[in-house]
Subunit: 438 residues, 2 copies
């Protein structure tokens, strides 16, 4: 640090507050330029995501941060530290969104990072090591890519976590192009991830990963805390492209017992999974279950036909990997049983299992101390949603997250983060990044 | 009759067989001209239906039959009888189809009528009264029109059975146009049905209605009979445009008990109705239940969102009106209960109830006698599907139906009617039309 002594907590707070116009302008421009008439749309490797990357790069350039990009198109904005060779502190989140999503999910974390960097510049701080803010691609790829993939494609690519063939088996929902094609068509280089055995990022160049994110549930709002310190991230078991195949026939003329009804069979399966979830929770285990897609074929369905086909997708989450593994067996068995009894085929196709991630306890303790010094009211909270932080954790990089209170959920246009709460989280982030090395 | 005596059974059979090339050519041209790459498509008041009407009109003209049309666009092809003032025998069926439907559902009845007329001409028969073959519009309108309507729009319009406002509340699924607009844009005159208090058809001009149709279930095929004599037609209770409204939120971050999940609520309702159906059948009552449409909103759904909306449709059929009335109360009550418990709104919107129809016993007895004389193997069979015949019955016109064996159901491209079976049914039809007045 090129100051004689570390700033005191009040100085951190004042510097963040003085840098808030940067955040306000970025949120406002982002919303305006990626609005879709309902909310915002920033598709993974799509136009809206690129707009967000361009805006952040422009802001970082005007702050004289160092700019870099990787072959997957992730954006790096670095405030140089004293020791340029030391592994850096990373602050990241994603710049894509779901279709008709909200302005804060993902973007808040990147903007918080840049705002914190600006505050450190304002304080005259040169950190011990580089502080790199990472604008990550394709975290919301489950909205944009079907087929067989493990989600979080931008971070997993550079962390060396892609499965063999995943670049080809993730298929864009609208264009039918593979992930590799989408990446290349957006101007990046998918071949890097097929050819290189050395991950782009790892513990040798990233000392720790921090992510600020809106809470995507109602807990902080209901309990009255502006900020949450995340203890862990739920893993998930997902079937993205499940399909039940029955037989189309006449809705009046075929006896009930001779039918192969795809809707009733799929309904039976999802209700069975809901009951399984209720029973797990009643036994004190962590689990939520969602069948977010369930649709008959609009080219063939009719009120006067027994439905012959249903496409569906489900997402089971838990902080306990054993729950996810048990459910993988359970749903496979039940799909087969229901299918056989009803004369239909319930094809789950490939399921993906993402392991839960525990946040770094040292980082969490440090942040709790910071929150107290900075007079920020906080609570410990688990994350129900998945985040890129889990992928950093998975390769041995210690990770931590800050949640910001948000009234209206996420993945919809009504996210309701207050900038005051965001400023509190950003103060904590700035303090944490500097003081961990003091 | 301008012959000295009625033809004998063998003469009827020979004349129908000799007229079969007309039927074969019509089936083949119809299929070719309305093929859609999968099956055939002849939308109600759409292009394919019009092609079918044009083909039939052309065939009737070349047989010197009298041609007429009504303000709803139904086609009448008349073999004049001796007494032109007497109410006529009608032979009808529909010329539209479901989307990606089969070639025989509907068209077989109209083609059988024209083939029978040609056979009577060949026999030199002038019937006692006019024999009119009616090509009916919009029997498959449940595929093509949503909103509030009672189905069978072509026949119900001319029989004076439309509800007040039905012309405006039936909405085309693709164009969003009302039935009145579709009818007028196809060149017909919807205003007739708003302004005229006198139905176009009724007992004063139709003495009896006959309809030949493929069986839409597997019963004749399984039992080995080429022909069925229909005893009655199931009625139905339908919700065409039901919608469950919940709340979109994050699939991982929101506790299960705080969700308003539209898929799980709708799944619970349809499974409940299936159980109710099983229980009715176990008690010896007639009922089938189908939820032919069940779809989340492709603009909003995602594997990572709790689903906030489901559109669905169901069709409950029974030969017992009491069952349909009880189910109307039951589903209304259950939708409210499930909705309240789950914090969602299950909107059934307007349901329509069509009363079951009993076929004319005198006609049925006459046809049984004919089948024996003509050496046609037949069985009595109820109709699970609805037909225009039920609407004629509803205004006091005695009605009867002949089913033709069909292996692969209907409302799909795989209908498998054999022309040999069709010829047997057409022999019975020709014999019946003449011999009822002998």
């Amino acid at each position: 640090m090129n100051r004689r002594s570390a700033p005191n907590p009040a100085e951190f707070s004042d510097a963040v507050d003085a840098s808030m116009p940067i955040a306000e302008r970025l949120f406002s421009e982002l919303e305006e330029k990626t609005a879709d008439g309902v909310g915002v749309t920033r598709g993974s490797y799509g136009e809206g995501e690129q707009i967000a990357h361009d805006l952040l790069e422009e802001a970082a350039t005007s702050l004289d941060l160092e700019i870099d990009k990787d072959p997957a198109g992730n954006l790096y904005m670095t405030l140089p530290g004293e020791n340029r060779e030391a592994p850096a502190w990373f602050v990241g989140s994603h710049l894509d969104s779901v279709y008709h999503g909200g302005n804060y999910d993902g973007a808040a974390g990147v903007i918080a990072g840049v705002t914190a960097q600006a505050a450190l510049q304002r304080l005259g701080v040169t950190p011990q090591r580089d502080i790199t803010v990472m604008g990550i691609r394709a975290e919301e790829c489950s909205t944009w890519f079907v087929g067989h993939h493990g989600g979080h494609l931008g971070s997993r690519a550079v962390l060396g976590l892609l499965w063999p063939g995943e670049m080809e088996s993730a298929i864009h929902v609208h264009t039918g192009r593979t992930l590799a094609q989408c990446m290349d068509e957006a101007g990046f280089d998918s071949s890097y991830f097929r050819e290189s055995s050395r991950p782009y990022l790892g513990p040798d160049n990233v000392k720790g990963y921090f992510e600020l994110h809106i809470e995507q549930g109602p807990v902080l709002h209901c309990k009255g805390f502006p900020v949450g310190i995340v203890t862990g991230i739920r893993g998930c078991l997902r079937a993205r492209s499940a399909r039940t195949t029955g037989f189309y026939t006449h809705s009046g003329a075929v006896p009930q017992e001779m039918r192969q009804d795809a809707v009733l069979g799929t309904a039976e399966l999802v209700l069975d999974l809901e009951r399984q979830c209720d029973s797990a929770r009643a036994n004190g285990r962590d689990m939520v279950f969602t069948a977010g897609k369930f649709f008959t074929d609009s080219d063939h369905h009719s009120i006067v036909k027994v439905p012959g086909s249903v496409d569906f997708a489900f997402d089971i989450r838990s902080q306990d990997r054993a729950v996810l593994e048990e459910m993988q067996d359970y749903v496979t068995r039940r799909a087969a049983e229901i299918g056989e009894r009803r004369g239909i085929e319930i094809g789950l196709n490939e399921m993906s299992l993402v392991t839960p991630a525990v946040m770094d306890e040292g980082f969490c303790a440090h942040m709790r101390q910071g929150a107290e010094l900075l007079d920020i009211s906080y609570m410990d909270i688990p994350s129900g949603a998945g985040h890129d932080a889990a992928d950093f954790h998975d390769v041995g990089i210690p990770a931590a997250m800050i949640f910001i209170r948000n009234d209206h959920g996420s993945h919809n246009p009504d996210e309701a983060m207050e900038l005051e709460d965001f400023a509190l989280g950003t103060r904590l982030l700035a303090w944490t990044l500097v003081m961990l090395d003091e």
